[in-house]
């Protein structure tokens, strides 16, 4: 049997490195489009201030990119080192988008990033804009392939298990590519990145405005960030709703625990705005609910029910029992591939193979299974409710707070009075960490909510790990935490340093802290 400590440490290592990695990613995804907008305005109007904006915010983008690049590579290492069984089991499907992502990231994204920084004096204005645009496309396409891979882990479509090779095999590439979970995840995630980029520019611009320095530069940056951020916030929320619908379709367990919905309600189900889930007693101590809303989000209908946790557990119990037959038939087929009876049983129960494998956490052979062990496996199919419930609500709350901030910021820039509203500027400044917190919580909800599976309904997490030594995992975990923390400190140091220097760091002589700074010339 596989040690639980080994599984927990492998999961912790992946979670830590993934969460660190995603501190850098959303800013890259969002900032790059802001650079495209700023440079487009420069090319269209010829106003130097927009070139300065592209170069200055591009510099902060470059710092983030340089610090963030390679932090994702360790995740890909881990598929081979810590998750070797997972990699064998699903490598045929998972490997393709991951490889394409590698090509996108290294060849398209990195090449154009180089041209962006070193091409200012070598390329014409339209050509440089084209480079910036291609850099944005490359960055976002790179995210697309990662999210196609991740979407497949949430909703494994277009693949079948082959008992001869003991792996999942791709039978429909288009189903993988157009997996609804992957598509929704992609647009929701990149929109969250756009929001992060907009918040970054808005917050730092607000700080310049509060200080009364580089005012024309900051006002223009604030305006572009407010407009882009408002569109992004709307997009994140609308696409988050769509994400709720796909979760309701493909991952009913996740939907039920996010909503702390213990019992199946008559359709359409109500939405728990806030509640106090008591997991020991499997009920909510109290809840403030809005009728119909969850039913509409989760099913887009008023007649379809959303199953509660108890109903899901009952279904899972049936599937686990059916899965025992699948595992037994698989063992028989592995011993004698021409065993027709075993093949017939396997075909009948193969959809529940993954559920049968959940029992392997407790037994070596299926004849050791007892009703008590089945109940433990049933209990494992539902992650803890409280962490999911609260993480989701904090993420959504931050999303709406950012929507309000961007809406008010946009209105103030339309009325050209943002400088008369220091409270708005201070709010914008203090909201700087909000999109990162929301993004990290979003990933927590997506990934913790998928447990106990690495591939939802197909491969349990405990069967996916490599049999490394615990000491190796402790050592590498400590190494990664130390290394990534140093990177984060260097990132913060450089970001703060150059944000403080402001556009004066461009050395144009037009900004605060330089010999002369005729900001008025840009108006």
């Amino acid at each position: 049997m596989i040690s639980e400590q080994l599984v927990d440490l492998s999961r912790l290592q992946f979670a830590v490195t993934a969460l660190y990695h995603f501190l850098f990613v959303p800013l890259t995804l969002g900032m790059v489009w802001l650079l495209v907008i700023m440079e487009s305005v420069y090319v269209m109007t010829g106003k130097t201030v927009y070139q300065d904006m592209t170069r200055f915010w591009g510099k902060l983008f470059g710092i983030n990119f340089a610090l963030g690049v390679t932090t994702g590579i360790t995740l890909e290492f881990q598929f081979g080192t810590n998750w070797a069984y997972y990699s064998h089991y699903v490598g045929d499907i998972f490997g393709a988008p991951l490889a394409i992502e590698g090509l996108m990231a290294f060849f398209l994204e990195s090449t154009f990033i180089g041209l962006f920084f070193f091409g200012w004096d070598r390329l014409s204005k339209p050509k440089h804009l084209m480079v910036t645009l291609l850099m944005a496309v490359g960055t976002n396409l790179s995210a697309l392939w990662i999210l196609i891979a991740n979407g497949w882990m949430q909703n494994p479509v277009g693949a079948e298990f082959n008992y001869t090779t003991m792996r999942m095999e791709l039978v429909n590439f288009w189903a993988l590519l157009f997996n609804p979970d992957a598509q929704v995840k992609f647009v929701h995630t990149v929109s969250a990145g756009y929001l992060t980029g907009a918040m970054f520019v808005l917050s730092i611009s607000a700080w310049y405005l509060l200080k009364g320095r580089d005012v024309e530069f900051a006002k223009r940056s604030f305006r572009i960030a407010a407009a882009f951020g408002l569109a992004s916030a709307c997009s994140v929320i609308v696409l988050g709703d769509e994400s709720g619908y796909t979760v309701g379709e493909a991952q009913q367990t996740k939907m039920a625990i996010i909503e702390a919905m213990w019992q199946t309600e008559p359709a359409p189900a109500s939405f728990n705005v806030i509640a106090w889930p008591d997991e020991a007693r499997a009920k909510n101590d109290w809840a403030v609910s809005i009728p119909w809303v969850l039913g509409l989000i989760g099913t887009r209908s008023i007649s379809r029910e959303i199953p509660g946790i108890f109903e899901i557990k009952a279904k899972n119990r049936t599937r686990i029992v059916s899965g025992i037959d699948a595992v037994n038939a698989l063992e028989a087929l592995r011993t004698n591939p021409s065993n027709g009876a075993a093949k017939e049983v396997f075909e009948r129960h193969k959809a529940d193979l993954g559920f049968g494998l959940l029992l392997k956490k407790y037994v070596v052979e299926m004849n050791q299974v007892t009703p008590g062990i089945i109940e433990r496996a049933v209990s494992d199919t539902v992650p803890r409710v409280a962490p999911m419930f609260w993480s989701f609500r904090i993420m959504v709350g931050l999303g709406f707070a950012m929507l309000l901030l961007f809406a008010l910021s946009f209105l103030s820039t339309v009325k050209i009075n943002c400088r008369q509203k220091p409270w708005l500027l201070k709010w914008a400044l203090w909201m700087l960490p909000a999109p990162w917190i929301a993004c990290e919580l979003g990933w927590f909800v997506a990934e913790y909510g998928r447990q106990p599976w690495t591939i939802y309904g197909v491969l349990p997490t405990h069967l996916s790990v490599s049999t490394l030594s615990v000491n190796t995992l402790y050592g590498s975990l400590a190494g990664f935490i130390g290394f990534y923390t140093v990177l984060l400190i260097v990132e913060m140091y450089l970001m703060v340093k150059f944000a403080r220097l402001g556009p004066g760091s461009l050395g144009t002589g037009r900004y605060a802290g330089e010999v002369s700074h005729p900001d008025s010339a840009h108006a």
């Binding site: 290492f77 070797a84 069984y85 089991y89 052979e365 590498s476 260097v490 450089l494 150059f498």
Partner: protein, 58 residues
């Protein structure tokens, strides 16, 4: 390129080089010998118990 930009390029170059060194060191210490070769027989053994891998080709 301004003085600050030269400093920035130097900082970023050092950071990227250090990253490569640290990553290679981590790989060398923890990963190089820790790999696990998995094939269909190993997966069958884990999923189906020890008996199931008998008579199965890789």
């Amino acid at each position: 390129m301004s003085q600050d930009e030269h400093h920035l390029v130097r900082h970023l170059t050092i950071v990227v080089l250090l990253k490569l060194i640290v990553l290679i060191t981590l790989w060398w210490v923890f990963v190089r010998d820790a790999g696990e070769s998995v094939d269909s027989a190993r997966v069958a053994e884990r999923i189906g118990g020890a008996a199931s891998s008998q008579g199965v080709s890789k």
